[in-house]
Symmetry: C2
Subunit: 315 residues, 2 copies
């Protein structure tokens, strides 16, 4: 049995795990992310890896990080929720642990995991969309993780779906993630509560009486109960999701989309409207096959598992 270590570095926590070649996690440990100082972050990653190395014989180490990773898989160019700017993550961690590591964007790592070991097993051309607070994505083409010329491929969350649309954290307007994310779901629910409180009675109740109190889990809970207002929010956000998938299919024609992230836990309430919109808007739809749209299978560990699996690959 060959084991590798995968590390998932997010804005709030670092998770490190020992993973076997089938994607099973043998041991996992978590640490809070000290996001303010780059050195502290590298220290925490190294400490977690060294702790695992003290107990397991491991062939390689991979790090998945929430940020732009350069084409050499060494440097995090920018991480919105960490202090890393042009940070030599590979070098810093290697110095501390005395072993080679690879660094990968976390959404890329998750897409790789779902393709190799999860919902898209056996597929060659896969786009994974992680619907959380924003939208993350990873692209596998012809059976290989596609990273782009400078490592920045797979950011469809920031393609423009509405000219002069909603302001995005990236500085642009109208980005897809402003319409098809967890933030968008909550914005729709709060908007409903403000403009049509009668249609949002259950949502308001779950939000403690105010529109601002409504959060993502509240919308999902109300929708699960069959609340029409909450379901309409999923219809809207799922519709935007499906529209984006149709756009991505026009460009990439994948065999399969995998939808993960916290919002995907709503299952069919999100994927139902997404599929309908996808199939009714795909260009050339009378002359082609429809890509499958599947729920992710590996959950929040996908990034960790993918980083561990990528560490196995040559160069």
């Amino acid at each position: 049995m060959s084991l590798t270590i995968g590390v998932d570095v997010g804005g709030t926590k670092v998770a490190a795990g020992v993973v076997d070649e089938h994607g099973a996690i043998v041991e996992k440990i978590k640490r809070a992310t000290p996001a303010a100082r780059p050195d502290d972050t590298a220290d925490v990653i190294a400490d977690a890896v060294l702790e695992l190395l003290s107990r397991h014989t491991v062939a390689a180490v991979g790090i998945g990080a929430a940020g732009f990773v350069d084409e050499t898989r060494s440097i995090v160019l920018f991480a919105p929720n960490l202090a890393w700017r042009d940070e030599q993550v590979k070098k810093r961690v290697e110095e501390r642990i005395g072993r080679t590591v690879i660094v990968e964007n976390d959404a890329n790592a998750a897409a790789w995991a779902e393709t190799r070991l999860g919902a898209a097993r056996g597929q060659q051309d896969v786009v994974m969309i992680t619907v959380g607070t924003g939208i993350g994505a990873g692209i596998v083409l012809d059976g290989r993780l596609y990273r782009g010329r400078w490592g920045s491929a797979g950011e469809p969350g920031h393609y423009r779906v509405v000219p002069d649309g909603r302001l995005c954290g990236c500085g642009n307007r109208g980005c897809w993630e402003q319409y098809a994310s967890g933030n968008a779901l909550v914005a729709e629910a709060r908007d409903l509560a403000r403009r049509a409180p009668g249609a949002a009675a259950r949502l308001l109740q779950l939000g403690g009486g105010t529109a601002e109190g409504i959060d993502g889990p509240a919308v999902t809970q109300a929708a699960r109960e069959g609340d029409a207002g909450a379901l309409s929010c999923f219809e809207i956000v799922g519709g935007w999701l499906g529209h984006g998938l149709a756009d991505l299919a026009a460009i990439l024609d994948p065999g399969c989309f995998v939808i993960g992230g916290g919002v995907s836990e709503a299952g069919g309430m999100l994927l139902g409207p997404a599929r309908v919109t996808f199939e009714s808007n795909l260009t050339g739809r009378t002359h082609r096959e429809f890509a499958e749209i599947r729920l992710a299978e590996l959950g929040p560990d996908a990034g960790l598992i993918g980083a561990a699996d990528l560490a196995r690959l040559p160069g």
Copy 2:
């Protein structure tokens, strides 16, 4: 010297050429396309190839066709300007000429030619956009032509840039090619002539006095003369082109875009505004490199040359 034959099958003409390994065309012949009957089209292709075979020793034959080609490179699923519907083009032509052929989408073939032998020589990740009446495209990733799960990748002309936007021939609304194509350029010029004839005096003159008389070459000619109205049309269409390139870069992060097609003959008048809009709208632009935006070099023969070169490749 190794020669191959490339055939470019368009809605109005079939061009067949003998091409050397550097992309030089040794001999080229043209025929009118009998688009109404599938058998006639295959006959014309076969006749042209047989004529070339009678004069040259050739290693392989590739056909580039304006339509959706399936993933086995055998069947044209749909061709908007030909009678082909689920047409066994490979089989029909092979029966007639007694040799193996490969079939490729013409925009894919052109993208391959520009990457191997034209404007993007030496690049690994290239998106070619052909700006003609509509928008065609081909995608080369990691040095290989990317075709998608079912052969339909590379149709960004039909991703949606404006919700509920202009009606497109594909049946959807708001497709990119309705905003960044030759048709869009002419539509802008005619709109200007109707709404602000004083600003379109030169355009109207070139159009024989009516808005409907203004065509693409007229807009290009007026813009070349420095006419402000015509230049404003290029600003608008070039801006939409650049916006689309920014969206494609968010998804694919290519090293280079190649812009070809009839409208690209306007050169900097189109590419200038496209570059400005691209660079000012690319997501994460302060943390990444900008892809180059280059003019195509191989002109209208790119599809023929690319089909000939693709025919050299194994499987």
